[in-house]
């Protein structure tokens, strides 16, 4: 069993572009759920409109990439406003299911034959981000340190992605420690109290929804640009589950929670995969026990188990405060 392979796989995954994308989406979710208390289960919908904003603008309408980005941002704001209208008045659990439903509705419509002329329907859209790679200043080669190597393409994508993540983190840090942040954290605790003090709860929730949604859409755009491909079925509720997992792993309501959570989540996911396959290859596990096609399933089962154990033994997440969590538990 080659530990250096397992380790390098895990690390590459943890700092790779996908981890950055999920971190960004989770930062948006952190604003929604961690700070404002909005149990938004439709974060994936923001990613979807962001991704398709870019993809459709460029592929379908032949616009330049930066216009596509603007359109992606614009559609996420629009979605937030539309989504907020019916859902922000709801109590937590209702909001959760209503938003998850909204996400699914959106996915189903984007993939339907009605939308095919614009979204490519089930075929998705491809090849719309060549501009992004054209402006890469990194010469073609592979780069790396220690056990980890990236192609120049990945390195460019991941540098931009992590830069955006850091900017977003700084933005959130500034915001939540400001009086504005105090208001949204108060809304998380008790809306009526905030209302009675003369703050427009609805407006604040909407601001939070829009802002977090915009971050989510940026994540979607980054994912789309990285893959040069969008497909509606990749934006199913499971993505949101993963985002929550990331958020809680890192610590909800903590500025760096999403980053830590995402790195950990993806590193773990790949670690299990890699370790299992290495163990089988090295003969530690007989193929009779786990046959090749079953590795994926066993990996996810292990991830599920690992997730449970983490939550059981470190319920507040890596960065969370146990005291705060106990208060929550009542």
């Amino acid at each position: 069993m080659d530990w250096s392979v397992i380790l390098s796989d895990a690390i590459r995954s943890g700092i790779g572009p996908v981890a950055a994308v999920y971190a960004l989406a989770a930062i948006g979710l952190n604003l929604h759920f961690g700070y404002t208390g909005l149990l938004n289960f439709g974060q994936v919908a923001f990613m979807l409109v962001g991704a398709y904003g870019v993809a459709a603008s460029v592929s379908t309408y032949g616009l330049p990439l930066w216009v596509g980005v603007l359109i992606g941002l614009g559609s996420s704001v629009l979605l937030a406003l539309l989504l907020g209208l019916p859902t922000l008045r709801l109590r937590a659990e209702y909001l959760a299911i209503a938003t998850i439903a909204a996400g699914e509705i959106l996915r189903l419509f984007y993939r339907s034959s009605w939308a095919e002329p614009v979204t490519g329907g089930v075929f998705g859209l491809q090849r719309f981000a060549t501009e992004f790679y054209d402006i890469s200043p990194i010469p073609r080669d592979t780069y790396g340190f220690w056990l980890v190597r990236f192609t120049s393409r990945d390195l460019w994508a991941l540098s931009v992605a992590w830069a955006v993540v850091l900017l977003a983190t700084a933005l959130i840090a500034l915001l939540v420690h400001s009086p504005w942040g105090r208001v949204i954290r108060s809304i998380r605790e008790d809306e009526d109290a905030v209302r009675s003090l003369g703050k427009s709860v609805y407006a604040y929730k909407m601001q939070s929804l829009v802002l977090g949604g915009v971050l989510g859409s940026m994540a979607g755009m980054m994912l789309a640009i990285q893959n040069q491909s969008v497909n509606p079925d990749s934006y199913d509720p499971v993505v949101t589950f993963f985002l929550y997992t990331i958020l809680v792993l890192g610590g909800a309501g903590r500025v760096f929670g999403p980053i830590v959570g995402s790195i950990l989540f993806w590193a773990l996911l790949t670690f299990f995969d890699s370790a299992l396959r290495e163990a089988i290859a090295a003969g530690y596990i007989s193929p009779d026990v786990i046959s090749a096609p079953e590795v994926g399933a066993v990996r996810f089962a292990l991830v599920g188990l690992g997730l449970m154990l983490l939550m059981i033994f470190r319920p507040q997440g890596l960065l969370g405060s146990r005291k705060e969590m106990l208060l929550d538990a009542r």
């Binding site: 392979v5 390098s8 796989d9 590459r12 995954s13 790779g16 996908v18 994308v21 999920y22 189903l108 993939r111 339907s112 034959s113 329907g121 089930v122 075929f123 998705g124 491809q126 090849r127 073609r140 080669d141 592979t142 190597r149 192609t151 120049s152 393409r153 990945d154 994912l223 990285q226 893959n227 040069q228 491909s229 497909n231 079925d233 990749s234 199913d236 499971v238 993505v239 993963f242 993806w266 996911l269 790949t270 995969d273 890699s274 396959r277 290859a281 046959s291 090749a292 096609p293 079953e294 590795v295 994926g296 399933a297 990996r299 996810f300």
Partner: protein, 397 residues
């Protein structure tokens, strides 16, 4: 895929070394059932190649596998993992959408990608630097045959239902076009959400459209749809029922009705030929006794063989060297049908034309079969799968 390989970055390990292969195939997620046959077929191919002495005298090492998982993010991470193991070629992904998500990364790294089940037409003209190939025939090859079979049986009012995904919609569209240009009326062309839990309304629509033939373009969920159709009175006993490759299965009858396999008596369908090679099927089943389904297994098997032969032909395991040979080994030359046989020919210096277990292949310039052998199958009184005939399709022109 067009054009020559431009060398890429860092793929492979130079001319001499071993040929390393990996795969990104679904082990979990929506299409998990497409995984096992493909994975086993790839392993089977490798084992046969190694039995024949390996590629350039070196055994192909254990495949570096990874799960496509039905999620772009998971697939991308998996592809990264496989690539970082310095593979020369990647088999997969199974779903066209997932392939599209990873194709840039793989081909951009100068590694060959070959899928046995991507049927979406998009790939034909995809800019992949000449590194992407597929052995699955594009939908435009199967549709005409399916349409022809339906017309031959004298049906004019055809209801079509298909999975709402790139496979289903693609095949449905190409079949529908053919049907209509052949003068039949397509009275219903409905797609359904493959994740749906319930197909009653779909079947009601079929019934309401009053067809004389129904084409069902489905994967595994087709069983469920057939059951509903039979119960609603639009089964093979009442109308012509046609399937595509997704419904071609030895066990379809027992899956639909364990007690009364005759319920699908008379159902017909088309699929890229594979059963033609009975030997392959029985050997594969011997190799992997747990396999129940063989969907796309022959195509994947051929992917692996083609890659190995291209490397032999190029006398190099560097993808930049052997990718340009991929098309050549499948056409225009002395026919051969197994790795061993073809390798011998190459060693003798002949130009080979590998005809795989999934068909003659004959890759066109874009790195995919320009024609396909399509099998017309049917189920008999006892629910047994029977081949009616095979025919070569070159598409609808």
């Amino acid at each position: 895929s067009s054009g020559d390989g431009d060398g890429g970055e860092g793929g492979g390990d130079g001319g001499g070394g071993t040929l390393k292969l990996g795969y990104v195939l679904p082990e979990t997620g929506q299409l998990a059932y497409l995984g096992p046959p493909q994975i086993q077929a790839a392993k089977f191919a490798v084992s046969n190649i190694n039995k024949a002495g390996g590629v350039l005298g070196q055994d192909i090492p254990e495949l570096t596998g990874s799960d496509e998982g039905g999620q772009e993010a998971v697939a991308v991470q998996s592809a990264d993992r496989v690539l970082s193991a310095d593979v020369d070629a990647v088999i997969g992904a199974a779903a066209s959408g997932m392939s599209l998500a990873i194709v840039d990364n793989i081909t951009g790294s100068g590694v060959v990608q070959c899928s046995g089940s991507n049927t979406a037409p998009t790939f034909t003209d995809y800019e992949d630097g000449g590194f992407y190939f597929r052995t699955a025939p594009s939908d435009s090859l199967q549709g005409p045959v399916l349409s022809k079979v339906i017309r031959e049986d004298g049906h004019n009012r055809v209801a079509m239902i298909a999975r709402a995904d790139d496979y289903g919609r693609g095949l449905m569209q190409s079949t529908k076009q053919e049907l209509e240009s052949a003068g039949a009326r397509v009275v219903l062309d409905e797609t359904y959400d493959p994740e749906a839990t319930n197909f009653q309304q779909l079947v009601q629509q079929v019934r309401n459209s009053n067809p004389d033939a129904v084409a069902v373009i489905a994967f595994e969920e087709g069983t469920q749809i057939l059951q509903s159709m039979i119960e609603s009175g639009v089964g093979p006993r009442q109308v012509g029922v046609y399937g595509a490759d997704g419904l071609r299965s030895e066990e379809l009858a027992t899956l639909v009705s364990p007690d009364d396999p005759a319920v699908i008596n008379g159902m017909k369908g088309t699929a890229p030929a594979s059963a033609e090679n009975q030997q392959f099927v029985s050997q594969l089943k011997q190799f992997a006794p747990d396999l129940t389904e063989l969907q796309f297994a022959p195509q994947v098997y051929d992917c692996v063989n083609t890659i190995a032969l291209a490397a032999e032909q190029a006398n190099s395991t560097d993808p930049a060297d052997f990718a340009p040979e991929m098309n050549g080994v499948t056409k225009d030359g002395e026919k051969c049908t197994s790795f061993q046989q073809c390798k011998n020919l190459i060693d003798q210096g002949s130009n080979i034309d590998y005809d795989g277990v999934s068909g003659p292949l004959d890759f066109i310039e874009q790195g995919e079969p320009g024609q396909a052998t399509i099998e017309v199958y049917t189920y008999d009184q006892t629910g047994t799968l029977k081949t009616v005939r095979t025919e070569v399709s070159k598409g609808s022109g």
